[in-house]
Symmetry: C2
Subunit: 202 residues, 2 copies
């Protein structure tokens, strides 16, 4: 065990692709898809543009992979939140996780899934569509989780899971915008704590 598989034929890669993807994710996160130029990206990744194209395809593919990395890294709180035993626990974990990720002292402020490509030129519609799908996927998972909470009796039977999921995701996206504006972590947390005192709001 622990034995790495046989080295592939050819000259070995001179950089850590995982580390490079993390750097690229941060650049996209901070500057957005269109605001991140190839020069900015490759400088941060520490590689040449040739190496980037060989390893990741093109800018669009790099963005796609950076978003996957974001989903399983900074945004992993969502998957964990959905496993909370109660709907209120789910909502609390989602919003607290959103605040923590969007206001990290060591990272860019805001959410890659929101500010990565919210309004773009026609040339970048693929990146924008990708994030629309990403956000819609998040909403759907929350809605399904709240649907189960209704079935379980955790939420009142008259609760509309779709409406409730729309409410929580709207707060989450709004928090991402506030964080991008520089609003502090504590203030956002106080706001969420107060908002969740009434539950379910719908």
């Amino acid at each position: 065990m622990g034995t790495r598989q046989r080295r592939p034929t050819g000259r070995p890669r001179g950089f850590d692709a995982d580390e490079a993807l993390d750097r690229a994710m941060r650049v996209f996160w901070e500057h957005g898809y269109e605001g991140a130029s190839l020069t900015t990206l490759t400088d941060a990744m520490g590689i040449s543009s040739t190496s980037m194209y060989a390893a990741f395809g093109n800018k669009e593919e790099l963005f796609r992979k950076a978003l996957e990395r974001y989903t399983e890294g900074p945004s992993a709180y969502l998957a964990r939140a959905l496993e909370e035993p109660t709907a209120l626990g789910v909502a609390t974990a989602i919003l607290t996780g959103t605040i923590r990720t969007t206001t990290r002292p060591t990272g860019p402020h805001g959410c890659l899934g929101v500010q990565g490509a919210l309004a773009t030129s026609d040339a970048s519609h693929a990146a924008r569509d990708l994030l629309v799908t990403w956000r819609d996927s998040g909403y759907s998972r929350v809605r399904e989780r709240f649907g189960r909470a209704v079935d379980d009796g955790d939420l009142p039977p008259e609760t509309d899971p779709a409406l409730l999921a729309r409410y929580v995701t709207t707060l989450a996206y709004g928090i991402a915008v506030q964080a991008a504006s520089g609003v502090g972590r504590d203030e956002l947390q106080d706001m969420v704590d107060a908002a969740l005192l009434t539950w379910p709001p719908c």
Copy 2:
């Protein structure tokens, strides 16, 4: 009265600057500051780049003026909302106005003040800072209005106007993101109606 002032010396402008600014505002609204190229802008405005520079200065100044136009046009609901007699009326008018403006069938989806320049390259930091200031100004006006509502006894004395304003603006910015993703007007309105059933939430 009604007499227009004396024609200025020199060749008269061959286009309507007001109309051109409206067109530019729409382009910035739909594509964002960085996604709106000079070609896209001047094509929509129906003028040459020379005329644009002569009339508006440069791209950054054009964006600044387009944002002012947006504030007194599509976003004018905010000023009207602040004049509602009750805090609940203010919140309702703000969120309903946000939904109506960000989901117009004939206009771009979303809010210029949010998606105009949320994450940008360093070269466009001026546009981003402008929108940060714009959003912060909106928040401050709402907070001051809620402060008066507390003084008037419209809101309980233990209410924190800053927290409440942060809550309402967070919902508004979240709505802008949802609208940019294509979420429909009716669904957002149902969500807001349900959310405002509990008031004040904090």
